[in-house]
Symmetry: C2
Subunit: 350 residues, 2 copies
């Protein structure tokens, strides 16, 4: 057994998914393509940040290292897989991690098989079902992780809040795009639910709750988790506009084509004059935006000072997170790991 | 407190949904429309068959009546709400129980609000998220039903299998339509997973597992549940073609427009000559089918003998279910209730 929690999360996911997909193909051989796509998608990369925060959240409050902890932490990656697959349908995103998204894969299967009906609708339907399966698997992997019932009962309100906030954050995100965006404050609120709580704070709390942490330790973890999670989302906003497609696995300027109403965009809109604002409104959310239009939107965003402002917001939040962490007096090894995770989550290029 | 389990299931659902939707609107006031739609959809009718089978499955093997049992049983209705909302997106169904389906409701909200982007895509996106919420709530309602951890642990493999089979059955159903249907045998297999196991057998087993039933009692319940569940689905097939829209809450001949490849249709195709088969293939799955075409397809199906054959299949299965039930020597009150449920599930007009 390796000591690296990340490799152990991978191994735990692989073990779980192998059994779960076998259960599927045992039902009917026609489910092989779904089972294969499900395994490939979740085992093919991903930063595994949520399992890492969960693992170190538990260790931070004194939990001993165990395979049960690794499995409980890894279950969050299946919840994330649900979120990604459904999110790609919501956003009509054609690619994910440089590969066709699940609904695209099954639309293609429908096409090449010469099946009846609309191939796009078929692909979306399968993606909905596959996302549902991930959600079910996530729940099942946590429940069968090997944690004692008391720990699982302590974890229950946290996982419920986390999943509710995820769906609520997704809805707020969708509605922000539909309404054509608003204040920086509203964009930050979406970031708080969609990322800060879901990606960082709740995973930390889940680990800590499994380990039986007191309220004080929970608060200390929030002091680190909330600003770090916001910084994580702000980095994501920058990558969505300026990221290198080779690294992000998404087309250049993907957030611009999708019309994402991020903090970055809200800041740019806030400082823009009427002419610039009309340029932004005209291009943002146009799925057929060409490279030149992407480049000109990038220039507008940078010229507005929004890019620099967001970089500064990231720095401030990472500083605040690290200050809170250092002051919390948590387990030494966990503190070191959480410092590293703060860097990994906010200095990334993918 | 009333004694009628059905009314108690309603009350338990109402209590749970009231708290869950308040949690939603506490996150952000924009979630009010989702919260209201979520409450309305799940509290607005439904036959509550799955909770009933779960409740009486537990009572059949000797469980005492309790509010915890009612809550555990009621949680299945939230799983069913997820299935219906996602299924309506998959099938592009515009109505459900005589009301606009969830994705239609939110497409309309998008339209009347004058929001940006595609209103149909917005509606589908919200329906995906709302279905996810129901799935999460279902899990949470079972976990917090008040059953002891040992009972919940016995229930775990059953609820996991049930949810996996539901999604697998949905996929097989979608793929049958895409492939343009096949044998009666393949259509029966879809009915087995989508309905027989999911609607009847697994709910019975869930209740029995909570109550700590032995393998023998589980088998006895399957002897009743599987044929009854098939009969339930066959009745559904007939209603999908011949049902009265006033009673079903779905347009007349809805299954024909959706191109559902049911046992009924497979039987009609099997006996059809080349000309009739080409008529069926031409009309089936055409969303714009007019009333005259629906009527002519109905005549073809009935003339083929398929309608009579399906009625006979229903009778045979109900007889088999009742024979197995009577022979099982289960709790008297539960046996009486399960006889009533067999009639309600298979002699219905909606």
């Amino acid at each position: 057994m390796t000591d690296d929690p990340r490799l152990r999360v991978e191994a735990a996911l692989r073990d779980f998914v192998t059994v779960a997909t076998t259960d599927l193909t045992d039902i009917a051989s026609e489910l092989t393509s779904v089972a294969e796509a499900a395994a490939r998608f979740v085992l093919d990369g991903g930063k595994r940040l949520r399992p890492a925060f969960c693992f170190w959240g538990a260790r931070a409050v004194g939990a001993v290292d165990s395979d049960a902890l690794v499995r409980a932490a890894a279950s969050l990656e299946l919840l994330q897989a649900c979120a990604l697959v459904h999110d790609d349908v919501l956003d009509r995103s054609a690619t994910r991690r440089g590969q066709p998204s699940i609904h695209e894969q099954f639309a293609t299967l429908h096409d090449v098989s010469g099946w009846q009906g609309d191939s796009a609708a078929f692909g979306e339907g399968v993606a909905i079902l596959l996302g549902d399966l991930y959600l079910i698997w996530s729940d099942s992997m946590l429940a069968t992780s090997g944690w004692d019932p008391a720990g699982l009962e302590r974890a229950r309100p946290i996982i419920d809040a986390m999943r509710t906030e995820l769906m609520a954050g997704q809805y707020l995100d969708v509605i922000e795009q539909a309404r054509g965006g608003g204040s920086v404050e509203r964009a930050l609120r979406v970031a708080r639910f969609k990322a800060a709580k879901y990606t960082v704070e709740r995973p930390l709390h889940l680990g800590a709750a499994l380990a039986g942490a007191e309220a004080e330790a929970m608060l200390a973890l929030s002091g680190y988790g909330i600003p770090l999670g916001e910084a994580f989302q702000l980095r994501d906003d920058l990558l969505g506009v300026f990221g290198d497609p080779e690294r992000t696995g998404k087309p250049a300027g993907d957030d611009l084509r999708e019309g994402k109403r991020t903090v970055l965009i809200a800041l740019a809109v806030e400082t823009a004059d009427a002419a610039t604002r009309s340029t932004i409104d005209r291009h943002l959310g146009n799925p057929d935006l060409d490279d030149q239009a992407v480049e000109s939107l990038r220039e507008i965003v940078t010229a507005s000072g929004a890019t620099t402002a967001v970089e500064q917001m990231i720095d401030e939040r990472v500083d605040a997170a690290l200050r809170a962490l250092t002051a919390a007096g948590l387990d030494h090894d966990a503190t070191v790991a959480l410092v590293g995770l703060a860097r990994a989550a906010t200095q990334r290029s993918a």
